[in-house]
């Protein structure tokens, strides 16, 4: 696709949309036209970086958060230049609102630079649907107009609404999240990083009641520690095996390194450059087993919290303010408050809990065919897109092209970021998204 795809619409102007636009605009092509569409008032924030709470820090240290794949120090230099960090402080876990400012400034700079060339156009409006046309694509907007281009890239990120079957659960910070009595007990579905975010928000609001956090295994994320990832080559790593074989290999690798005095984090992080390759080479049966049995363990070791946040969470658990429970919610009765019945994973005993609020922090993955995003929904409804075999996101090729329900590959509608989780597995964080965007830009524009 060289020379033809000069005009590209990016649907979704959150972090992945901005990162993709930045990589596309590196091309010297004077005929390039990039249109970035975002329904929120601000670009570059999306769900991940719209929080204003200073306790909501990035889960990746600043050294890993550059928007550019070929300039990994970009964000770190930006922090240093503005006096927001000093080099002795590293590793720094910056507030997410600071990261939103970084992306905003980056986009402002691009906008100023491209004003003369007309290569970048920003539209603040909700997108309703994408339709293929003989010459490209047409994106219909909520204001009744539409925009056309050679191709469109979906960068709509995480779903804004809780998944189906979460009953009365709401999202922290949504409209339904009205003021609560400071002593009111609450239930959080999930014990991962989103639960930690919810806890920090509640603290900020002066909430003091008990927070019961339920997940299948009740595992809390581990803390970051300053380290040095071990060096691995693809030639070292078993690929395409059954899951148990791979897990055995990885356990041995950690054990050997620990014997040599190396922290397990350095082994987990050393694998990171190969995670997508490992995932893509597994047979579907191994992927399915991983999602069902191993992912919860992987997540708490791989997706860690900043040390300061970990200290706060640990203190809260010890003080009984956060109560992690391994189990599942079997019934919720709504009245003045919610009566929630939870079955313990280990004892199978039922426990009934009265809570004033239920927050959905059960993870960002949900069945894409029930998405609240109208663009994605309409693509699935018309058969132009379908869920991947494990229903983690949309089915896309390794080149980010959408695969229709009849199996045909679209050359005109593509996707980046969390929507592509089924194919790219770890594609929620900037370090992975920027590599995906760099490769896609190179393929589209050379």
């Amino acid at each position: 696709m060289t020379g033809r795809a000069n005009s590209i619409i990016i649907v979704g102007g959150g972090a992945s949309g901005v990162v993709l636009a930045a990589h596309l605009l590196k091309s010297p092509n004077p005929d390039l036209r990039v249109t970035l569409i975002e329904k929120r008032p601000h670009f570059g924030q999306g769900m991940a970086y719209s929080t204003l709470l200073s306790a909501h820090v990035l889960n990746v240290s600043a050294a890993g958060m550059s928007a550019y794949a070929d300039d990994p120090g970009n964000f770190w230099r930006w922090l240093l230049e503005r006096g927001l960090a000093t080099s002795e402080q590293a590793p720094v876990y910056a507030p997410r609102s600071v990261y939103a400012r970084y992306l905003k400034e980056l986009l402002d700079e691009l906008e100023a630079r491209e004003r003369e060339t007309g290569r970048l156009r920003l539209i603040r409006e909700e997108s309703l649907s994408i339709s293929p046309t003989p010459s490209g694509v047409e994106v219909a907007l909520a204001n009744g107009t539409s925009v056309v281009a050679h191709l469109a890239v979906l960068a709509t990120g995480h779903d804004e609404e809780p998944g189906a079957g979460q009953g009365h659960a709401i999202r922290m910070g949504s409209e339904a999240d009205t003021p609560l009595d400071a002593e009111a007990p609450v239930l959080v579905l999930g014990t991962g990083l989103s639960m930690v975010d919810a806890f920090l928000s509640l603290e900020q609001r002066g909430h003091r009641g008990e927070i019961t956090a339920v997940s299948r295994r009740g595992l809390l994320p581990s803390p970051h520690r300053k380290g040095n990832p071990i060096k691995l080559d693809v030639a070292d790593i078993p690929l395409g095996t059954q899951l148990s074989y791979f897990v055995g290999w990885f356990r041995d690798l950690i054990r050997e390194n620990q014997k040599a005095g190396i922290d397990w984090r350095d082994v987990v992080d050393g694998l990171r450059p190969f995670n997508q390759k490992i995932w893509q080479n597994w047979p579907t049966s191994a992927k399915r087993r991983f999602v069902e049995h191993t992912k919860a363990w992987w997540d708490i070791h791989r997706h860690r919290m900043a040390p300061e946040v970990y200290a706060r969470v640990t203190e809260a658990v010890q003080a009984g303010r956060i109560r992690p429970v391994a189990g599942r919610v079997v019934a919720i009765a709504a009245g003045e408050a919610f009566a929630v019945e939870i079955q313990s994973r280990h004892t199978k005993r039922l426990e009934t809990l009265e809570v004033a609020r239920i927050y959905d922090c059960s993870g960002i993955a949900r069945d894409i065919s029930t998405t609240s995003n109208s663009v994605v929904r309409s693509l699935v409804d018309r058969g132009l897109a379908k869920p991947d075999p494990l229903r983690l996101g949309l089915d896309v090729t390794a080149n980010c092209e959408l695969i229709a329900s009849d199996g045909t590959v679209s050359a005109k509608i593509l996707a980046v970021g969390p929507l592509t989780r089924g194919t790219f597995f770890e594609i929620d964080a900037i370090p992975d998204i920027r590599v995906q965007c760099a490769r896609l830009s190179k393929r589209l524009l050379g």
Binding site: I230, K231, L232, D233, V234, A235, D236, I237, P238, L239, G240, T241, Q242, S244, Y245, L253, E256, N281, P283, S285, A286
Partner: protein, 149 residues
């Protein structure tokens, strides 16, 4: 550095890849058809089963078959399971590193180059499926005969 174990394992898998989908082969037949000691082959197939490349059935009609279609199994993936990390010499591996008695690895240029060579090995072997390897022989046999003639 492909060991005998790796070579035998690949030959056994090619043998299985030639069978109609789902059909089982006796270990004895694979061994005699490919000049592999049977005891050794038992051990090799056991490891390939643990890694999920072959399936076995016990009993009188028992035997082995591929666990997945031959075009989904990559040669490099099999070699890693049988021989460990792909490496042209034992010191050029990061996880199963074996020190050379006679040199200092930090300053050894040979090792440095061999670390690059292993990337090239991985690139070739990870691109080729069992089905492709099986078909090389069939495609090129007539050609080889023609050249001889």
């Amino acid at each position: 550095m492909l060991t005998k174990k790796g070579k035998y394992g690949l030959k056994a898998l090619v043998h299985l890849a030639r069978l109609p989908a789902g059909q089982l082969a006796f270990v004895g037949d694979i061994a005699s058809g490919n000049n592999i000691p049977k005891k050794f082959l038992d051990a090799i197939l056991g490891e390939l089963r643990n890694a999920g490349f072959v399936q076995s059935r016990k009993g009188k009609d028992g035997g082995y078959r591929l666990a997945r279609p031959a075009d989904e199994i990559k040669v490099g993936h099999v070699v890693r399971v049988l021989d460990g990390p792909l490496a042209p010499i034992p010191c050029a591996s990061r996880t199963q590193y074996q020190r050379c008695e006679d040199c200092n690895e930090a300053t050894c240029q040979v090792r440095h180059l061999m670390l690059e060579v292993r990337q090239a090995i991985a690139e070739v072997l990870d691109q080729r499926s069992l089905a492709e390897m099986r078909d090389i022989a069939i495609d090129e046999l007539p050609l080889a005969l023609k050249v001889q003639a």
